[in-house]
Amino acid sequence: EAGVTQSPTHLIKTRGQQATLRCSPISGHTSVYWYQQALGLGLQFLLWYDEGEERNRGNFPPRFSGRQFPNYSSELNVNALELEDSALYLCASSGNRGAVEKLFFGSGTQLSVL
C-alpha cells in the first residue's frame, strides 16, 4: 500500500514568486494536514482539510492557502514568497475524522526561497 506522497521533493523559487506543493494521502484517508518545518522552529501546523473543506488553520498569513480535491489529494499554495518561507513542508493524512488517532507523514517538499 502506498504511503503519503508529496511532490516535488525540492522546489527553488525566488522572493515574490508563488509555490505550489502537492500531496496524495494514503488510499482511504479523507483528512490531509499540512505542516511547516522551518530550521530550528520545529513543526508548525498550517492547514487541515477534510472531505474537501478547510477545517482548521494555523497562525499563518492568508498567502498560505490550499485546497483538497474530490480524490482527497491536496495542494498547498504559497503566494508572494518570502525568504523565511524556506522550510520543509510536510503533508500528513489520517482516516479517522475527528479522532486523529494517527497521522502518516509524507517525505516532504523542501522549499528554498532565494
Binding site: 483528512s31 522552529l41 520545529g42 513543526l43 482548521n56 475527528g98 494517527k102 507523514f105
Partner: protein
C-alpha cells in the same frame, strides 16, 4: 494556547547507556504522540498514548504518560547507534473539531559507539 516543550533539545550519548527525553505540555490534552525523524526523511509514528498512566514499549524505547503532571517521557534502554534520530512529541488538544497536533521542538539524539 497549548505549548509543548521537550528537553533536552540535544542529547549525545554512548551506546549501551540509558536516557530519558521529557515532554511537558501546558494544557489538558487527551492524546500524546511520539515520532521519530531521520535526517532528510519524514516522521515515523512511534507511540500513541491516550490515557493517564499509559505505557507503551517497543524494542529499546518505552513511552509513558502522566496527564496530571502533563508530562510524557521517552526512555531509551541500552542505546544503539540505529536509534540516532530526532524525536518529537506532539499533543492533541481536547477541543472538539480543532484537529491539530502541537509539536515539541524535537530532541536530536546522537548515539556514539
Amino acid at each position: 494556547e497549548l505549548k509543548v516543550e521537550q528537553n533536552p533539545l540535544f542529547l549525545s550519548m554512548q551506546e549501551g547507556k540509558n536516557y530519558t527525553i521529557y515532554c511537558n505540555y501546558s494544557t489538558t490534552s487527551d492524546r500524546l504522540y511520539w515520532y521519530r525523524q531521520d535526517p532528510g526523511k519524514s516522521l515515523e509514528s512511534l507511540f500513541v498514548l491516550l490515557s493517564n498512566g499509559a505505557v507503551k514499549q517497543e524494542g529499546r524505547l518505552m513511552a509513558s504518560l502522566d496527564t496530571k503532571a502533563r508530562l510524557s517521557t521517552l526512555h531509551i534502554t541500552a542505546a544503539v547507534h540505529d536509534l540516532s534520530a530526532t524525536y518529537f512529541c506532539a499533543v492533541g488538544p481536547i477541543i472538539q473539531g480543532a484537529q491539530k497536533l502541537v509539536f515539541g521542538q524535537g530532541t536530536r539524539l546522537t548515539i556514539n559507539p
